[in-house]
Symmetry: C2
DNA sequence: TAGATTGTTAATCGATTAACAATC
DNA sequence: TAGATTGTTAATCGATTAACAATC
């Protein structure tokens, strides 16, 4: 504890994973009072040491012999990650894509909710995905600043990527999870883009077959 | 060169990225004969040194003062990654999801093609996505071994994840790119799973807002 | 107290960056 | 030859693992 400064990326990702784990466990009705680094490690395929090291970054002391108070840990993680009760994000893609995403990663799971949906297809403006109204991407800059949306999930078609990133930047969104494959992005300076490149992941996995894991 | 043994994961991923870059450039009709580490670095937001270091793993010598022969590099990367002309993969998900994936990451882009589509929905067996017939996931173990499929792209619903991973394992598929969020996987031993956890990525991005990048 | 688990320090492992001689 | 770019070695940075004293 008392560990200041920006933690390593790998740690931030795992802290997010712990938060997801707790949100999910809560949803499933788990009400155990305490949680140890060992349990967490086993559930998430990590080592105990890594878990404890990670948790030194958040404002939550563990109790030797007992573990961490589940609820305290959850609250501390939420605070550390800068989340809110239901963290609102924006989603961008065609109605087709938005519908798939809604099925794959439903609203209000893991403590994340929607602020707005945007489609790049003109005719889809005004239609609904679930009970959410879809607006045209060109309206992204008009996103209500009061919503304080910081992150977007983007899966629009390739040609729309750069314009969409620009408009999100204008709307004050500083983090983007991008699912559409593309080689070179025209990312606005300062914008944080996590790009999932499915073709690269697949090729990496192909390579994995040539070098079988030793563990 | 002469660099043997399994390269670091980060390197394998970037080698895949270089291969994607070349496949994409070829598709766009780029026919420059040579390519330098600087160009590659600039296009992919990496450092020159990293690119050169990475390329020491593949069987392709660069020429001081000139760079790498584009075509040679492409062939060497393909060989190194264990790819083939059109590398066949399997895709798993509902018709809805498969359709979205086909739009987002079309067949025959980046040198990857399909071997088969599988849906977890009984009634969807026999339907078509694009010109590809969809089969039921329970048929995964019957996948023709002659196709030599090594990798699958899976985006089925949560309850199907574990059974699907098992059946893919039976079918000899050893690498999986999984898009469905889930905390704990029952992954068959030896199976290589790259799990994209959208909720975790989003929370990590949220955290990024609290610690603005310094560069 | 005894058992269990934390938090911290040191050691190791892994990856990137810097520097530069070799060479086309 | 001169200019440009490679490949390699050393230095740095970052992350994980191991070990263990502290403590509830």
């Amino acid at each position: 504890m008392g560990n200041n400064g920006r933690p390593p990326d790998a740690t931030v990702y795992r802290l997010s994973l712990y938060h997801c784990f707790l949100a999910d466990a809560q949803r499933r009705g788990d009400i155990e009072m305490y949680l140890t680094s060992r349990t967490l490690a086993e559930e998430l395929d990590l080592s105990e040491e890594t878990v404890r090291r990670d948790l030194t970054y958040v404002e939550c002391k563990g109790r030797p012999g007992t573990g961490y108070v589940r609820e305290d840990l959850f609250v501390a993680l939420e605070a550390f990650l800068g989340l809110r009760e239901e963290y609102p994000i924006v989603r961008v893609g065609t109605v087709q894509t938005l519908t798939t995403l809604q099925a794959l990663f439903p609203e209000n799971h893991f403590g994340i909710t929607h602020a707005a949906y945007f489609s790049e297809v003109d005719e889809e403006a005004g239609t609904f995905v679930g009970d959410v109204e879809v607006r045209h991407v060109s309206e992204i800059p008009d996103l209500d600043p009061a919503l304080e949306v910081q992150v977007a999930l983007v899966a629009c078609s390739q040609p729309w990527i750069d314009p969409v990133l620009d408009m999100l930047d204008q709307a004050g969104v500083s983090g983007v999870l991008l699912l559409t494959p593309k080689i070179k992005l025209g990312r606005p300076p300062g914008m944080n883009v996590r790009h999932v490149r499915m073709p690269c992941d697949i090729k990496s996995l192909a390579c994995g077959c040539r070098f079988p894991t030793d563990r």
